[in-house]
Symmetry: C2
């Protein structure tokens, strides 16, 4: 972990010593920058989510259960783009932690309705606060307005699906 985290000197190496200036402007690094930010988000948030099974993934599921109240486990999985087989593991551990419960769906005895427990709801509130704080540190280097702007742009482009703009 320590070797990977040492991204200190990367800023130096990125100065484009020999390359042409015009090329430097068109530098292809969107994916790289996104990757750096996401990794930093993980590093920051993993601490805030200590105790949540599967960390960010479990947190995401818990949040979807509470906020979106999907009718079935399958709907929950699909809404998050998580595979059903993965959802089984995630829920197993969230249930074991007492954060959510699996109940039978009223009208379909195959399906399960996933609901948060009282303690799960309370935990989610705490974790969301902690994550909000952690996220601030991810976007350091930007002032408040820029941070707000970046969040909006990222959110909007992420939710504008390329295949289904509807």
């Amino acid at each position: 972990m320590s070797t990977t985290t040492s991204r200190t000197s990367s800023d130096d190496a990125r100065r484009d010593p020999a390359g042409s200036v015009s090329d430097a402007c068109r530098r292809v690094d969107l994916g790289q920058s996104l990757g750096i930010l996401l990794r930093r988000w993980h590093d920051a948030v993993d601490l805030a989510l200590a105790g949540v099974p599967h960390g960010p993934r479990g947190f995401q599921v818990l949040g979807a259960v509470v906020h979106d109240e999907p009718p079935t486990q399958a709907a929950l999985a699909e809404s998050l783009g998580i595979d059903r087989t993965v959802m089984t593991y995630l829920l197993d551990d969230l249930v074991a932690e007492g954060l959510v419960e699996r109940r039978e769906a009223a009208h379909d005895r195959r399906a399960r309705r996933v609901v948060a427990t009282a303690s799960g709801r309370a935990a989610l509130r705490r974790f969301e606060d902690a994550v909000r704080v952690a996220e601030e540190s991810v976007l350091c280097g930007l002032d408040d307005d820029e941070r707000e702007l970046l969040q909006r742009l990222v959110r909007r482009s992420a939710h504008a699906s390329p295949s289904s703009p509807a």
Copy 2:
């Protein structure tokens, strides 16, 4: 892959049916949005990088070799935040593909200097063009100005290291 890609209904599910409105504004989803964008970037770019060993990872290494000309393999790995052991595999396959070469570093017979071949340099140019095109599709939903703005903000915040702002 088809199950994971069906992120269509997520926009519907994200309308916050029961939650309070003020909470919806403070919704914690930076990491989620970044994850969606990065995954979309991968999907788009993987096609453009067909033929590059290890896809985006190998492309990143090739770009660093050409643009930054790091003195040693270790420096290359550290500048990209890639583990040395991983770098070995990546370079093995880039070498096998004839894109880069390992030469002995002049003054240290332990170290290797990684240089791009002529074909590697030419390939990089082609791949960078293809990636530039692919990246456009990732940020659909934003107009040109917003795209430019997002790229700048993402790049800047990614390169502003939280641990070493110097």
